[in-house]
């Protein structure tokens, strides 16, 4: 695993370096000079990259992972509940979520932000801060906002996978052994659905990273994506690698895991 991952990591680093030089390649060198390599710009002022980046990285990742887990939890719960409903109702729910899926991330962010402020103005009830005030960090709203769209996407994926799995012979076997439908759904089917869900991890991650960025920008949170936007050259490379190294490792692990499961699937197909 280490050698293959090492090779991949090397390619990723080369890729990041190439990306960081694209602007220079297109528009000449003079754009890069304006900044020192270990600094990032925020509000017209330059800050040192270290050690700020650790704290910001942790903050962003806390939001990202918490939102992912919360979104996954929501998606699985909704999927499970919808399996208990009659077919026609399931179709309506699915159609409704298909519509929600089209919502741009910005729309959700702004609707939530505006409505929280409106509620605050009307009733004086502050549900949660919607932007970072001074140095205090906010968690509740960013996590909630960031989890909505992945929850919708994950719901759609799990729902489709679940229906696919439900028609597989092993479900009938489990039923013939006298297990209840609920037991089969939870113990047999969800297990396989979760395994297949790993296939979508990359797509979901890319999607959430993009959401996280716009969320940080709109909510004025100072996280890793804000730094990524406001750095150039070496500082940019370092910032991207901060995200890339742990996640590429995670993907590598997931790939290995799903490959093992895939071997089963292919054998079954044969």
């Amino acid at each position: 695993m280490t050698s293959r991952y090492g090779k991949r990591l090397r390619s990723i680093i080369i890729g990041v370096i190439i990306i960081s030089f694209f602007p220079t390649l297109f528009f000449g060198v003079e754009q890069q000079k304006s900044m020192k390599p270990w600094e990032y710009m925020l509000g017209g002022r330059a800050y040192s990259l270290f050690p700020d980046i650790f704290e910001k990285f942790l903050y962003s990742m806390t939001i990202l992972l918490a939102a992912l887990l919360f979104g996954l939890f929501l998606a699985l719960t909704i999927t499970f509940i919808s399996t208990l409903l009659p077919r026609s109702l399931q179709k309506i729910i699915y159609g409704f979520y298909t519509m929600l899926e089209a919502l741009p991330d910005l729309f959700i962010i702004i609707v939530l932000q505006v409505s929280v402020v409106a509620i605050y103005k009307k009733t004086g009830l502050l549900i949660g801060n919607v932007s970072n005030v001074y140095e205090s960090k906010i968690y509740f709203f960013p996590i909630l906002t960031l989890s909505i769209l992945p929850a919708i996407q994950l719901f759609k994926i799990t729902y489709l996978l679940l229906n696919e799995e439900m028609n597989k012979p092993y479900v009938n076997v489990a039923r013939s052994l006298g297990h209840s439908n609920v037991y089969i759904t939870i113990n047999h089917v969800f297990r396989n659905v979760l395994a297949s869900l790993f296939h979508y991890s990359r797509t979901i991650f890319v999607f959430m990273l993009s959401n996280l960025f716009i969320l940080e920008y709109v909510f004025n949170l100072h996280g890793i994506m804000t730094i990524m936007l406001n750095t150039k050259g070496v500082a940019f490379i370092i910032t991207v690698l901060f995200v890339a190294i742990p996640f590429s490792f995670l993907f590598e692990w997931i790939e290995r895991y799903t490959q093992r499961l895939n071997v089963h699937r292919e054998e079954e197909a044969a």
Partner: protein
């Protein structure tokens, strides 16, 4: 013939697709005595698998039972509550499916697959569960290490054995084997069937063997039901049926078994156009056959006892219909 364990009476099953209705099983009567192996033989689409699935209440959503009764130990399985049915599945009646490759959950280890059936039924400690599962594995001829393996690590025959171990974990009094050997090598086939047969002998259980292979029937079955087009066309004791097959479909099936003694170059096959009209015991009959002539196909027919415990589906005389 000992007392019946399971009796199917006049079962009608149909599929609903959009607006059309397709009848899959029309008026099947079937009796499984205690401690015997009953074979249901027929080509694909003859309704044999649907009959077996309706016993366990596992029909696909698009299918429904229109009428009939399935009596098991004096209970009508079509009327029992969901909970009761769940209890019956696995511990009273269980099933071995034909496609072992897809019938095992790929994400669960063999040990878990077997013990989860035990967990639901008997209150065993973890250790007892494990030793019971290992006993079952040994019974079906597998080694202990299979317990910790995933289904993908097993061969087709081993998967089928695991499937049988799962089905037997509840010690059912009726085991339904739905073409348990079709997806397996010929060499493994008889091993698997022997395994099922041994269980029958040791536990005085009954087997419903669904197959399209008359060779298997001759070897293992006590009684045979020949199904065609959703109906039983001939039924009887296995010896009677082999000695004196009457329905042309049965004849066709039996004659299509290759015999080593035969010197003919071509194997016989059942032709779809065979249409016989043979007199028998003074009664005019044309067996309801696989004729493509609709008139014949739709003509009223009934099972007639032509000799003791030997039933053949015959066309009813015109006078009889009028009566």
């Amino acid at each position: 013939m000992s007392a019946p364990l399971l009796e199917i009476k006049d079962l009608h099953v149909s599929f609903h697709e959009k607006k059309s209705k397709i009848t899959a099983v029309q008026g099947v009567d079937l009796t499984i005595p205690k401690g015997e192996t009953v074979a249901v033989i027929g080509e694909s689409g003859s309704g044999k698998s649907i009959t077996s699935l309706s016993i366990l209440g596992l029909l696909p959503l698009s299918a429904s039972i229109d009428s009939g009764a399935i009596l098991f130990k004096d209970k009508n399985l079509l009327k029992v509550s969901n909970k009761e049915m769940q209890y019956i599945r696995g511990s009273e009646i269980s099933m071995v499916f034909q496609d072992a490759q897809a019938s095992l959950n790929p994400a669960m280890k063999v040990g878990v697959l077997i013990t989860e059936g035990l967990k639901a039924r008997k209150k065993l400690t973890r250790h007892e569960q494990r030793s019971e599962a290992l006993r079952l594995l040994r019974m079906v001829g597998l080694k202990n290490h299979v317990y910790d393996q995933f289904p993908s690590q097993l061969s087709g025959g081993m998967k089928q054995r695991v499937l049988i171990a799962m089905a037997l974990s509840g010690e059912p009094s009726l085991l339904i084997a739905d073409e348990p050997t079709t997806s397996l090598d010929v060499t493994v086939q008889s091993q698997i069937l022997d395994l099922i047969n041994n269980y029958k002998i040791e536990n005085d259980a009954s087997i419903l063997l669904i197959t399209h292979d008359f060779g298997v029937v001759a070897e293992y079955a006590d009684r045979v039901y020949v199904m065609f087009g959703g109906k039983v066309v001939e039924a009887g004791d296995v010896y009677t049926l082999f000695r004196n097959p009457i329905h042309p479909y049965t004849k066709g099936l039996i004659s299509s078994i290759p015999k080593i003694s035969d010197t003919e170059e071509r194997l016989k096959s059942v032709s779809d156009f065979v249409f016989e009209e043979v007199g028998y015991v003074g009664r005019r009959f044309a067996p309801e056959t696989y004729s493509i002539e609709n008139k014949v196909y739709d003509a009223p027919s009934e099972l007639v006892e032509v000799e003791p415990d030997h039933y053949v589906r015959l066309f009813v005389e015109k006078e009889a219909v009028g009566r």
